[in-house]
């Protein structure tokens, strides 16, 4: 039981971080960023290069990951999403653009970093073992703590900083925010950069545990979509809730349903569909029209 809870907390915290960036971008621009997973992978590879290959300290590599992705996100928003959103008749057109960017990042990652699974040396060695009731390697505990700290930091940033308040205003009502004097273009770019940075941060954190390969992008995006759905699209607290719920769902599902083998995930997905059918706007989302 302790083990299941610990697994749930660990999975939930990393999932919540992935979902945060996605939901932030969605809240601000109504863009479903299909390339979110690829940004996560890119963050992982940047940390791999600087920490694993060049031997820089992990924290420095992590920072480089964040900065790289933030810049990339800002550029993508400014030169790709912003013009398309301005000129397209429907919001949905951006989905195609996002998918195109996902393919492009996939192609670039393949050409630059190769096809192999990559990993970095462990940041902390050793395994915490409480009488075989709870087993958790120290590096996982560390990453879990870092993830929770990042989430707390992000929430604090959104609550108390000027930028954060502007972003929240923008997410709530774009037109009203504009009328109140918020520079919409600038803050859209900042918001997108922030979302991409979060993806890069998770990638950099998780590369120390799971390693990274170019195939992880697409599935990560899809998982992030599911979490955002559970919590409610475009709501920060929803993304966190969604991430934690999916994390626990997997941890508990795999433990309880393991004797059913092949259909564990089938049941998880079906329960997800039933949940959404009952509560179409997720846990905390606003009904979407």
């Amino acid at each position: 039981m302790e083990q299941i809870l610990a697994n749930g907390v660990y999975l939930g915290s990393q999932y919540a971080m992935i979902a945060l960036g996605l939901t932030l971008i969605f809240a601000l621009m109504n863009v479903l960023n299909f390339a979110h997973g690829q940004m996560y992978v890119l963050g992982g590879f940047v940390t791999y290069t600087f920490y694993g290959q060049l031997g820089l300290p992990f924290v420095v590599a992590l920072l480089i990951s964040c900065v790289t992705l933030a810049i990339l996100g800002a550029l993508i928003e400014k030169f790709l999403f912003a013009p398309v959103i301005k000129r397209s008749a429907r919001d949905e057109s951006t989905m195609l653009l996002a998918a195109g960017i996902a393919f492009l990042l996939d192609a670039i990652i393949l050409l630059v970093f190769g096809e192999k699974q990559r990993g970095v040396p462990k940041i902390v060695n050793g395994v915490f073992n409480w009488d075989f009731r709870l087993i958790m390697p120290y590096d996982r505990i560390l990453i879990c703590v870092l993830a929770i700290l990042s989430i707390v930091g992000f929430i604090a940033f959104m609550q108390y900083s000027k930028t954060g308040r502007a972003l929240r205003a923008l997410a709530q009502d774009r037109v009203a925010a504009q009328l109140m004097g918020v520079n919409v273009d600038r803050y859209s770019m900042i918001g997108f950069a922030l979302g991409a940075m979060l993806a890069g941060l998770v990638g950099g954190l998780l590369v120390t545990i799971t390693g990274i390969n170019l195939g992880m992008g697409g599935p990560t995006s899809i998982k992030a979509f599911m979490m955002v759905m559970i919590g409610g699209a475009g709501v920060i607290s929803g993304a966190i809730a969604g991430g934690i719920i999916l994390g626990f769902l997997e941890a508990i599902g795999l433990a309880v349903l393991s004797q059913y083998g092949d259909i564990t995930y089938l049941l998880i997905f079906i329960s997800l569909m039933i949940f959404l059918a009952i509560r179409p706007q997720g846990l905390m989302g606003k009904p979407w029209g």
Binding site: T210, L254, A255
Partner: protein, 395 residues
């Protein structure tokens, strides 16, 4: 207007290709060999290691003057098609090969692709060498597929038997990804373990290929305390994480798989925890590798910057195609002649020390010789490199 430009460019293209063809004529004629497999996306590592080993070998042949079949010396050209692990694309790839006049194709890498290209290959007279295990592909009336590696239902029993007899393994647990290939391989493995009298303590735990944390997946398996944990059809990306999770959960027994792995990936992903991990390999371990194999690895590393140990098992298909054609030059554009030669074909294996032979096998499994005889080399990972555990033959 547009059409006219298109016409012009078409004419130009024809003229260019004519010049190109005549230029090539001045040297050696070209023999095209195809590759249809996955070289992008999550499973890219499988296809890329495949494609690169073919390209390395082709460049090597061409550099040393070409390959003589009958009275003609050919330059080898590899034509590759990325099927994105999608059976629909794989069919398009095979059509493309037919279009290029290619009769010998390596790939596809997975079960569904290999099954989907069968009608095209048989209709167009193409022999293809898939890395997929379903027996239907190789048993009559199927005629044109040749299994390009050792199948899991052949390597599995050998590994389990070795571990049972030498290491006293009694119980075994299986874990597989929730996908066609790994699940089929798991079922084959369970059958083999039962036949050997091993007790299968856990056989239904699966994971999604995109799993990032294997601890919850493995926890219930670990509770059954198996002596041997088999990672059925595990992809090189998942293997290190599974090993790491199992070891961190305190698992002390053996871990094995029937697929090829890469030592570098294991070292980066699991470090010392991967020591003792048993996988199927080719002939690149120092105990077995011939000078040709060493040169191949060198050339591969020079050409692409980094070697991939998965290529050890993938160097063979091209060699088989060329050697068989050499044995019967009529096969170059007549697949029937090639098939007729297969039964009695035999040539020295250039990549292994000793007197190992290249020949076609598979009578036991498929009722006809539709498999390349690759030595079944079982490796064990130790401190960043593979060591040979034992070598067996497949029939």
């Amino acid at each position: 207007m547009k059409r006219r430009t298109a016409m012009k460019s078409a004419v130009a293209a024809i003229a260019l290709s004519a010049i190109g063809a005549s230029a090539a004529w001045a040297e050696n004629p070209t023999l095209k060999i195809g590759f249809v497999g996955v070289t992008s996306g999550p499973a890219a590592a499988w296809g890329i290691s495949n494609q690169r080993s073919m390209e390395t070998r082709a460049a090597w042949i061409n550099e040393t003057g070409g390959y003589t079949i009958g009275d003609t010396t050919y330059d080898i050209e590899i034509v590759s098609f990325d099927d994105q692990k999608d059976p629909k694309r794989a069919i398009a790839g095979m059509e493309k090969m037919a279009q290029e006049g290619i009769h010998y194709v390596v790939g596809p890498n997975v079960d569904d692709g290999a099954a989907a290209v069968r009608p095209v290959a048989e209709a167009n007279g193409i022999m293809y060498f898939p890395y997929a295990f379903p027996k239907e592909l190789y048993t009559a009336p199927a005629s044109n597929a040749v299994l390009g590696m050792v199948a899991n239902y052949q390597s599995g029993p050998a590994i389990y038997k070795y571990l049972r007899d030498e290491k006293g393994v009694k119980t075994v647990a299986f874990v597989a990804a929730n996908e066609s290939d790994p699940l089929s391989q798991r079922d084959g493995g369970i059958e083999a373990a039962n036949a050997l009298g091993l007790e299968v303590v856990s056989d239904n735990v699966t994971y999604q290929v995109d799993t990032t944390d294997f601890t919850p997946v493995l926890t219930p398996v670990m509770r059954t305390m198996p002596d041997l944990l088999v990672l059925s059809g595990v992809s090189p990306a998942n293997a290190p994480q599974l090993i790491r999770s199992a070891r961190e959960l305190g698992f002390q027994g053996f871990i094995s798989t029937e697929t090829a792995q890469d030592a570098q990936v294991l070292r980066e992903g699991a470090g010392d925890l991967a020591n003792g991990f048993i996988s199927v390999g080719g002939a690149s371990t120092p105990e077995l590798a011939s000078d040709a194999m060493k040169e191949f690895v060198d050339r591969y590393t020079k050409m692409f910057g980094e070697y991939n140990d998965e290529s050890n098992t993938k160097v063979y298909a091209l060699e088989y195609i060329l050697e068989t054609l050499k044995a019967n030059p009529a096969g170059i554009d007549d697949v029937k002649a090639f098939q007729a030669t297969m039964d009695a074909f035999e040539a020295p294996n250039p990549y292994m020390k000793g007197d190992a032979k290249l020949r076609y096998v598979g009578s036991t499994s498929f009722g006809q010789k539709r498999q390349v005889a690759v030595p079944l080399v079982v490796n064990v990972y130790q401190d960043g490199a593979f060591e040979t555990l034992f070598v067996a033959e497949v029939d």
